[in-house]
Amino acid sequence: MDSAPSEIPRLALKILVAGGFGVGKTTLVGAVSEIRPLRTEEQLTAAGRGVDDLGGVERKTTTTVAMDFGRITVRDGLAVYLFGTPGQDRFWFLWDELATGALGAVVLADTRRLTDCFPAVDFFERRDIPFVVAVNRFAGTRDFRPDEVSRALDLDAGTPVVRCDARQRASGKQVLVALVEHASTVHAARTPVDAVVGEAR
């Protein structure tokens, strides 16, 4: 017990990357992660809805839900983990698990399909999880001003809207910086300044 081979990094923070299908979540995670983008899978077994024609044996279907994730080591003992949330609505219970203890979230938006990110915006607003909306620029789309996007999404005042190119590491970094700054402001407003950081072991 005493011969520790290596110190366990003390702090691990979690940031979620959400948004509609095909909006660039995997791309963003891959662009900023220091490790090759990893996919982890959760296998879910659900009893089939229908009953087979033959003999009424219940069919079981196994669904694999993939989650992309990446890591950014800030320093020895402090790392940020990024998780791309599964896009399909029926896997929302996984969002709940992912959101537990999250520092904040990036909601990626495509202005051609802005409604796709409504569910994510609702999800984080209801749970008081700080988030920023990052408008991923796709070729041939009109550039919307952040305040236009904010109004279209009916965001709470103070929720930042930033533009980004999810393929670019520098751009992805800026999105994360905007999020952590926002989360920092939100958390500071919620808790007394003298909040104690426990000896997390």
Partner: protein, 108 residues
């Protein structure tokens, strides 16, 4: 067709819930005498030198997260690993830490 939960003896829930970013460190070297299955041995080897998150362990072993959690539960019971719990949200707002994260991201 693989039936992942056969590796866990049909169990789907570990005793403690491991967060995806809980960090795992292996405390034992894998030897033929060590009473663990091949999947658990693989997990132990991966986290022996460096702490790895539960998510990374699942990705590296190509096992579903649920399965990895159950296997880690056994390893924890046997005291073959140590697991760090993530910082509870209530303790997150330390401004220095968040400033460090911001500076660290900018410096990437």
């Amino acid at each position: 067709m693989v039936r992942p939960y056969t590796m866990t003896g049909g169990r789907t829930r570990p005793e403690p819930e491991f967060d995806l970013i809980a960090l795992v460190v292996g405390d034992v070297d894998v030897t033929p005498e060590l009473p663990v299955g091949p999947e658990q041995a693989a997990l132990l080897r991966l986290c022996r030198a460096n702490a790895l998150s539960v998510a990374e362990l699942a990705a590296e072993t190509d096992l579903p997260v649920g399965v990895v959690r159950v296997l880690l539960g056994d390893l924890l019971d046997a005291e073959y690993i140590r697991v760090s719990r993530p910082v509870p949200p209530a303790l997150l707002p330390d401004e220095h830490i968040l400033q460090e994260v911001i500076d660290g991201l900018r410096a990437l």
